[in-house]
């Protein structure tokens, strides 16, 4: 996994509540078997009309937000489906951070797994950042995961909280399967204690 320590980038805001994963990455792109290349499909129905032309009004189509890497969103961002394709598409588009008052839980978990940092921030603070993003040309924020700080060189600084274990994984870019496999003995031990009535599905492995 890509490590995340500190990132400075432009912000873009889609500040409405309940943006579900169907909006972030519509289902027609779920038939692909790779992890890459979803950036062009991010917010597809919002970005493109039915003929495939860009909708100029949509925020990520506006020249000043095209290279944004910090997304500001409304509450319950990423609700709905478990598709990891949603965070993949945000990351592939160029986002490294999503800041929202709350997230859909599976989406939130998925982000950490791929090195996209989701940050929960009070709604009024997100609103403040949204306002600055809209008013100030090239508004930049720095997100420092080591110091747990979001700041702008000029006039903004706020601390954020995140789960300590996830923070450590992200800072180091750890492969969490590798971490779990360190406990292989414990897993085997647990398996021996499983109740006798539990079933085994594969005929070749019938015990």
């Amino acid at each position: 996994m890509q490590a995340f320590k500190k990132h400075t980038g432009k912000t873009a805001a889609i500040f409405q509540p309940n943006i579900d994963t169907d909006q972030i990455l519509p289902k027609q792109f779920l038939k692909r078997i790779t992890k890459n290349g979803y950036g062009n499909f991010l917010f597809f129905d919002w970005r493109f009309d039915e003929q495939g032309n860009e909708k100029p009004d949509f925020v990520l189509n506006q020249p000043r937000f095209r290279d944004a890497s910090i997304l500001l969103a409304g509450k319950n961002f990423g609700s709905g489906s478990s598709r990891e394709h949603a965070p993949w598409s945000l990351a592939d588009f160029g986002f490294r951070v999503v800041i929202a008052p709350s997230f859909g839980e599976i989406f939130y978990n998925n982000c950490f797994k791929i090195g996209l940092l989701p940050i929960i921030l009070e709604e009024n603070l997100v609103a403040e950042l949204v306002e600055k993003t809209e008013k100030i040309e090239n508004y930049l924020l720095t997100v420092d995961l080591e110091k747990l700080l979001i700041f702008n060189e000029k006039n903004f600084s706020v601390r954020f909280a995140t789960d300590e274990f996830r923070r450590e994984c992200l800072l180091n870019g750890w492969d969490d399967i590798g971490l779990i496999l360190k406990f292989e003995d414990k897993i085997s031990e647990f398996e021996l204690k499983r109740p006798l009535w539990t079933f085994f599905l594969n005929e070749n492995k019938e015990q």
Binding site: N18, G80, K113, I187
Partner: protein
Amino acid sequence: MKTLYDKIWDAHIVHAESGKPALLYVDLHLIHEVTTPQAFDGLREKNRKVRRPDLTIGTLDHSIPTKNIFGKITDEFAAKQIEVFRKHCNKNNIKFFDIGADHQGIVHVFAPEMGLSQPGMTIVCGDSHTSTHGAFGALAFGIGTSEVEQVLATQCLQQTKSKNLLIRIGGKLGFGVTAKDLILHIIGIIGTDGANGFVIEYSGEAIENLTMEARMTVCNMSIEAGARAGLIAPDETTFEYLKEKFYAPKGENWENAMEYWKTLPSEKDAKFDKTIEINANEIAPYVSWGTTPAMVAPVDGNVPELSVAKIDGQSYERALNYMNLQPSQKIEEIEINRAFIGSCTNSRIEDLRIAAQIVKGYKVNSKVSAMVVPGSQTVKKQAESEGLAKIFTDAGFEWRESGCSMCVAMNGDFLLSGERCASTSNRNFEGRQGRGGQTHLASPATVAAAAICGHFTDVRDWKFKDNGLWFLVFGL
């Protein structure tokens, strides 16, 4: 004193350290074609093996066609995804049900019907509606593809424990009111993020009286309220359903399992972080009017005014605009041109029995195109042998092969822009059933009635042409 969730959690801890997520063992890993190819690739890149193919089982459901299933799949992306899934399962010695196979079906339909979902288990799948299996008193939840890879490699997940939310539903559901109406009512009250950070346990008289299939409908939509999982304590209804199922324990194992399962329900003085009381007597058949499953109204009511809609103005305007509806518009005056009976929420045999009783003796409205997509091949065959399929086709419904179909609309079954659909599925998000398509969530009874009338109607007043059986319709 422990809750059902606490007990299952504690029984599956492989390793725990303070300040870190627990390592939780997974008893059953369900897989399908959409959320697994990248996980298998990840394993291969790191030269890792599937640890327990014998606790992993697959089905094809999301991308597959629901007609001409043995013909060539013309969507090249779907064809490739299906082919890759077969290859991964075969190579890793994982049992799976292929298109048209006896037990093939939607992952959350075939597993319970084969007795795979059992009380006290941990069940995961790369699909958010895995919460369905909580109906058995199993801790079941959806995971992303990275976590699918984790479970394939280790049979474990790093998990942080959620809080306990009790939703107690007293009273009785009235005639014509089903489990779907109950869960839409609950989501309408608590909102799409009302259970964020929680595992819900549903209890109370109304829950105890539900059949297993109805309980699955309730738990299925727990995710639409933001919950990690939904649970219902196992009881005689659960045991009766499971007994003799293919993968259910047999003989002495059954006795031992029962003894354990009976210890699972939450203790009387168990501590819940939050409790919500619901009165089932007050619940009407529901229809969604907006673009989240919390935007619902009683069928005999109206599209709410903003002042009573319990949502922010921006979301309200956007939803009405997308749905092309007006404030105060009567729900019963909303006309539809599509009807979909299917999905992991409502495609089981009881759902089809209810819908067929409504439909019997009627014709689908000439302005409506309607289809029934059974949840599994088993459901399909059962419905055919009971004569339900004939009732549907005689009325003008299309009778399809099993799969997710127009719930997720990625298999070629979808709404055209501007089409308005009464749907038994679980999500009415913008574009969910097709770009520009307008989805109204409702129960199988309400959708069946809407297909016939061409607009929503209150099934509590439905005139059953088959008078002899009307009282069986809702199992009352």
